[in-house]
């Protein structure tokens, strides 16, 4: 992502041009707002924010306060204790899970995005026999939920001796049919055929055309794909559940569940406060990633509208 610069992104053509910005301007011109719409948006906002607020508030509570105090307000503030306990519990296994998750996201989601860009570009800009068949397969693959493939994948991987290794999580994450479809669309809309012709006329090879001309134009679409493959990999639960047995390779999702189920076993130690604080720590990197990458995303959209 470091090759992206604001300038290049600004030059890019967005996938969804024109409509967003003018619509916003228009509403500023009209002082009367729809009360109904405001209330509805407010409700949706509340609906999506309340769980976050709950998590934030309850991460500051001790286990006893979790049960005794009102759920949507603070009790004794022990967030720092909780964070410290979360990071050090069981010899700091949480940190290990965090690093595992990062590995799966960087290699898995990063790889998925890269492959989607390559494939999407090729499908959009080259014609070759069987393209329609590829299209049908991709669309079909979008419709198959990953969960349905997890068990067959497990059986296959166990024969290849890949289960219980990080590869078992990374390799299936590398494939994102929906990402490919998005990049395909994005490449078809964002890269003007004339530009490629110009590049070819100037003697650029296919590789140079791709990396120096097309890739910058694809930045907004790429960020979109990167964002949602990242979220998918970060939140991946079922696949690692089936593939991994060694807690040393768990991602955060499995680790938190293991902590949570400790409470439901004879002699197990209930650590609800650590589960909640751990959940908060787990979503923080995603929020940061969204805020950071949104900049590129939005500038891409805006650039599109200017061009239009």
């Amino acid at each position: 992502m470091t090759t992206l610069s604001e300038d290049r992104a600004t030059a890019a053509a967005g996938r969804r041009p024109a409509r967003l910005r003018p619509a916003r301007r228009g509403s500023a011109d009209r002082p009367r707002r729809s009360v109904l719409l405001t209330v509805l948006t407010g409700l949706v906002l509340l609906y999506s924010v309340v769980p976050l607020v709950w998590l934030l508030i309850n991460a500051t509570k001790t286990q006893d306060d979790l049960f005794d105090s009102f759920g949507l307000w603070f009790a004794d503030f022990s967030l720092w204790n909780n964070v410290r306990d979360t990071l050090t519990y069981d010899d700091g296994v949480f940190v290990r899970w965090l690093l595992n998750t990062l590995l799966y996201v960087v290699v898995g989601a990063g790889g998925a995005t890269f492959l989607a860009v390559l494939g999407g570009y090729a499908l959009a800009r080259f014609s070759f026999p069987g393209k329609r068949a590829v299209f049908a397969v991709v669309i079909g693959a979008v419709a198959v939920p990953g969960t349905a493939l997890a068990v067959p994948t497990f059986l296959m991987f166990s024969q290849m001796g890949l289960t219980n290794t990080p590869w078992a999580v990374i390799i299936p994450s590398l494939i994102s049919p929906f990402g490919l479809y998005l990049m395909w669309n994005s490449a078809a809309e964002a890269i003007p055929e004339e530009m490629l012709e110009a590049a070819r006329m100037d003697g650029a090879g296919e590789f140079r055309t791709f990396f120096q001309v097309s890739l910058p134009l694809l930045a907004p679409g790429m960020v979109t794909v990167l964002l949602f493959t990242m979220v998918a990999t970060w939140n991946n639960y079922f696949l690692p559940l089936i593939m991994l047995r060694d807690p040393d390779w768990y991602p955060l999702t499995l680790g938190l569940n293991a902590w949570n189920s400790q409470a439901s076993t004879a002699g197990g130690e209930a650590i609800f406060n650590l589960v909640i604080t751990g959940s908060l720590l787990t979503i923080l990197p995603l929020i940061v990633a969204f805020l950071f990458l949104q900049r590129y995303w939005q500038s891409g959209l805006a650039a599109g509208s200017v061009k239009a």
Binding site: G161, A258, A263
Partner: protein, 447 residues
């Protein structure tokens, strides 16, 4: 955790179970040899001297100290203690590993109800020749019979869960209600408590297979009879019916809190005086101390209420054994660890950590019996619990596919708790599901 995820998990467990049974049906082509070559008692000694690395799958928290002690005593042995999941999660992983033929641990923790499934498919090694045959009388009868299947001994009991009535004494006293000694009195107490305060329930229950089987066990029922692959199921025998009718009264009168055991609401209810008692295994003190700190000084332990006044029948609820998977290549060394943890010095380590042992010597030791529990207001609760361990009704057995059976309990018998049917017919539905599945799996099931 969403229902669909849990359902998916259960399906995965079921699938794994099918695979494991399928493996047995194929015969001895699993490559790891037959079950006869587990080794002898002298092999255990030499294995300890030679040393090596052991992988242990267990979720029991006190085992960490046991491993430390074991490694200190046998510096040549390196034990890798792995928490591969709790209960069903771990069984799924274990079945998958056994099926895949790689990554199988040398020692695995398995609850008593799940052990027959692994024993029958010979996924676990028979420990008889390694020295388990000399352990008759070492363990209390309930757990000891639970680790045996046919002529084999497929694990050593790690802990036990003789049932008792844990009750919130403060709540019972506040309402002037005596501790029930029979289930009839218990129902009366349930009515009185709920009438005095509509938020107060004598217990919670939304359908719990483990609890139900333990209660039937205490009532003298023997719904599951197993002889090799011949299985007889009768969830309408006298004991089962006694329990089902009494419990149906509690359900139909709305006297049970609609809270699932082990949920966070459950822990909350136990702490805020809205769930007043638990009929549960003897391992509960450690859970109360860590999960229900607010109940300290309020709770006490009484013998399990009886079906006939004056009796002292009891049953086991939960508890687990350590077993050695057949695929382990270090069975002798693994057995040495089992012996240390479940018969040797490890037992005291675990008692100190709050576990409830299965060894008669420890259950009868004065130090154990006299221990005062500050959480229970200084009560010597081990006296009640050890008494219960000695009075466990004999003759109980679980199904060779109890993990699956328990997983469909809520779809069948559990319907009684939502008012869709009554408990006796719910149990009949459960029986039908058990028979159908068993037949599909190649058992010959009567019922």
């Amino acid at each position: 955790m969403s229902i669909s995820k849990r359902a998916a998990l259960l399906r995965a467990t079921g699938l794994a179970a099918v695979l494991a049974l399928g493996l047995t049906a194929c015969g001895g082509d699993s490559g790891s040899g037959g079950s006869a070559d587990a080794g002898s008692a002298s092999d255990v000694e030499s294995a300890l001297e030679e040393g090596g690395e052991l992988t242990v799958w267990a979720w029991e928290p006190t085992l960490e100290d046991v491993v430390t002690g074991f490694e200190a005593e046998h510096p040549n042995v390196d034990v890798d203690l792995v928490n591969a999941g709790t209960g069903n999660d771990q069984y799924t992983a274990l079945q998958n590993a056994i099926k895949a033929g790689s990554g199988v641990p040398d020692v695995a923790q398995v609850e008593y109800y799940a052990l027959p499934q692994f024993a029958l498919s010979e996924s676990f090694a028979d420990l008889t020749s390694l020295g388990a045959d000399s352990l008759d009388g070492t363990f209390t009868p309930g757990p000891w019979s639970s680790v045996q299947s046919g002529d084999g001994i497929y694990g050593l009991p790690m802990d036990s869960g003789p049932m008792a009535l844990f009750y919130n004494k403060a709540v019972f006293d506040a309402h002037g209600i005596a501790v029930p000694t029979t289930w009839d009195e218990y129902i009366e107490a349930a009515r009185a408590l709920h009438a005095a305060d509509p938020n107060l329930y004598i217990a919670n229950d939304t359908g719990d297979a483990g609890f139900t089987t333990s209660m039937i066990w205490q009532a003298g029922g023997q719904p599951f009879q197993v002889d090799g692959t011949d299985v007889t199921v009768d969830l309408a025998d006298e004991g089962s019916t006694t329990f089902a009718q009494a419990w149906n009264t509690l359900i139909s009168e709305g006297l049970l809190a609609p809270v699932s055991s082990w949920s966070d609401e459950w822990y909350q209810g136990l702490g805020n005086d809205t769930i007043a008692s638990l009929a549960i295994g003897a391992w509960m003190p450690a859970n109360l101390e860590s999960g229900v700190a607010a109940g300290a000084g309020k709770w006490a332990v009484a013998p399990l209420p009886q079906w006939k006044a004056g009796e002292s029948a009891s049953s086991e609820n939960g508890g687990s054994a350590l077993a050695v998977p057949e695929a382990s290549e270090q069975k002798a060394l693994a057995y040495a660890f089992l012996e240390y943890a479940n018969v040797g010095d490890g037992v005291q380590t675990r008692i100190d950590g709050g576990a409830f042992p299965a060894t008669t010597a420890d259950l009868e030791s004065q130090e154990f019996l006299d221990k005062e529990f500050p959480y229970f207001g200084g009560q010597q609760v081990n006296q009640v619990l050890a008494e219960s361990a000695a009075n466990v009704v004999e003759g109980w057995s679980y199904l060779p596919y109890q993990v699956y059976a328990n997983s469909v309990f809520n779809d069948t018998a559990g319907q009684a708790y939502t008012g869709a049917t009554d408990l006796p017919s719910g149990l009949a539905d459960w029986q039908a599901a058990i028979v159908e599945y068993g037949d599909e799996q190649g058992f010959s099931v009567t019922g």
